[in-house]
Point group: C2
Chain length 162, copies 2
């Protein structure tokens, strides 16, 4: 029996340790286990979940996928297809496919948000003009500061509409 075994055993982490190292809650980690996303390496005699260090990595991985917009269920599917791919190249191909899709989707999201950011900028520029407006005027009587209707960005125009 190699020394490795006892050494690894000694460095096992309890669920609370994992939680602290990842910023997740114990409940979240339990949930990941229910969903089959992360299993403890072993259980202690009394039933405590004991993890190795790579449990932390797995959770960071889950976090990253979540940030990219994967749901936990999708991540579960991800792991399932991985496990079902008999050969390494096939598994890698599947992963490539998923990542490629997500990359496209992420880029679309970025493009969409960029457009929205532009609209926000436009709206802010428009609102700058309101500084020169009559300071005592009631907002419900705002006449649009003499600017024609089609100049008003939807983001601003929509507010006043019933």
């Amino acid at each position: 029996m190699p020394a490795e075994t006892s050494a690894e055993f000694l460095s096992l982490l309890k669920v609370g340790d994992i939680a602290r190292r990842t910023g997740k809650t114990v409940r979240a980690i339990h949930l990941y286990e229910e969903l089959g996303l992360l299993n403890p390496a072993v259980r202690s005699k009394g039933g405590f979940r004991m993890y190795r260090g790579d449990g932390v990595k797995r959770i960071e991985w889950i976090q990253k996928l979540q940030d990219m917009g994967f749901s936990l269920t999708e991540i579960k599917v991800f792991l399932r297809v991985w496990g079902e791919s008999a050969t390494a190249p096939k598994a890698m191909a599947t992963v490539r496919e998923i990542f490629t899709d997500k990359l496209r989707e992420t880029r679309e999201t970025i493009a969409r948000l960029s457009r929205l950011a532009d609209e926000l900028s436009e709206s802010l520029a428009f609102l700058e003009g309101c500084r020169s407006c009559d300071q005592g005027q009631h907002q419900r009587e705002c006449g649009g500061c003499g600017r024609s209707d089609h100049e008003v960005p939807l983001l601003v125009d929509g507010i006043a509409k019933r």
Copy 2:
């Protein structure tokens, strides 16, 4: 009584019309009303909600704010502070503030997603190398193709971890 009045009355839209024109469901529009985001101009004698054309604009506005990440509750607050601002310039200032915050937030989100897109690209590049892997090898025996551990992107590395 100007002709405008009857003309506007004749062109009133029922909730189903609004739904069709905005792609929303009737239920969603009802919800917006419950939340105080959109009220019908009038009710018909029988109780039907009757909207003017700007109801469509209001819903498009709501949609845009949702796209930017505002929750319906936040939009409600938005409208409330607008309504509570006595003067036009004050109201505009409040709106500017909200938009400025959201613009910053949107840009942060874009930056975050860009970093994730980069990680995806890196991971995909890494996975390209797996094409040359032994085609018959079982995925559980993947040795990392001889590439050292620190070259493996987290997005890829996390998959194999327990």
